[in-house]
Amino acid sequence: MSLARRAVPPIGLVLGGVLIASAASLGLSSDTLGAGSTATPRCTSASLSILQNLSAGTVISVTVATLPATCGGGTLQVAVNNGIATGSGSAVIPAGGGAVTVTLGSAPARRVTDQVDLVVVGP
């Protein structure tokens, strides 16, 4: 048997194998997909001291003390709501923390019950 005739069967097997593999494969591409999650930390979980500063029966500012250094550089926002009107303002906390007085944009009247809310955004 010539060399050419002996080579034909193996070549046929190889080609057949390639064809079968090609038939079983699928073209596939993908869009990008990225996801991430992270906790939203608090600069402190300790209690803060809050003092409302009055003037003529209205709350003109609020002093927040005992702020730790970890809150330094953050922005302190304070709002006073007496149930009828709301006054709010913000101030940057010093790098070392401490006490910050926030002046309210409008001074709500001092009432028996009012609510003071604050939030620190950043650092």
């Binding site: 494969s25 596939l28 993908s30 990008t32 996801a35 991430g36 939203t40 709002a79």
Partner: protein, 156 residues
Amino acid sequence: MNSLVDQIVSLNEDAAPRGRLLDRVRPGRRLVAAVIAGVLTFSVVYGLAASLNLTSDSLGAATTTVAACQAGTLNATYTSTYSAAAPGYTVGTVTVTGLAATCYSKAYKVTLSGAAGASLGEATGTTPSSGTSFAAAFAPAVSAASVTAINVVISG
């Protein structure tokens, strides 16, 4: 009785010398035997082939990589606003900075979550085609005190 003995003797005398069995079979009978053997053989083979009924659903497989549009870190900052209706501070906008050009014009989803990972609010949109940041607006705004985590996904 003698006739039977004579026949046996006659057969022995007519027999071919000792050799292969096929050599002692006449050519015509050899052909018939070959045909019968072939029929029997292929009948068995045919029987085996006919005993398998096989069909197949299609099956295709492929693998590809799912990659993120950027490797750089994104940073989220919060814009809080006081809400008398809440009452309290709420987060209405989350600004995501650190966006790379490879993430331009892709769908995003930002979710603020609270205790036990529960979703507090979700903002969706498309990243800009320029710049390094985008703002995700939450409507309604989410209670700032309840936010414990932020989740961002960008796809496309």
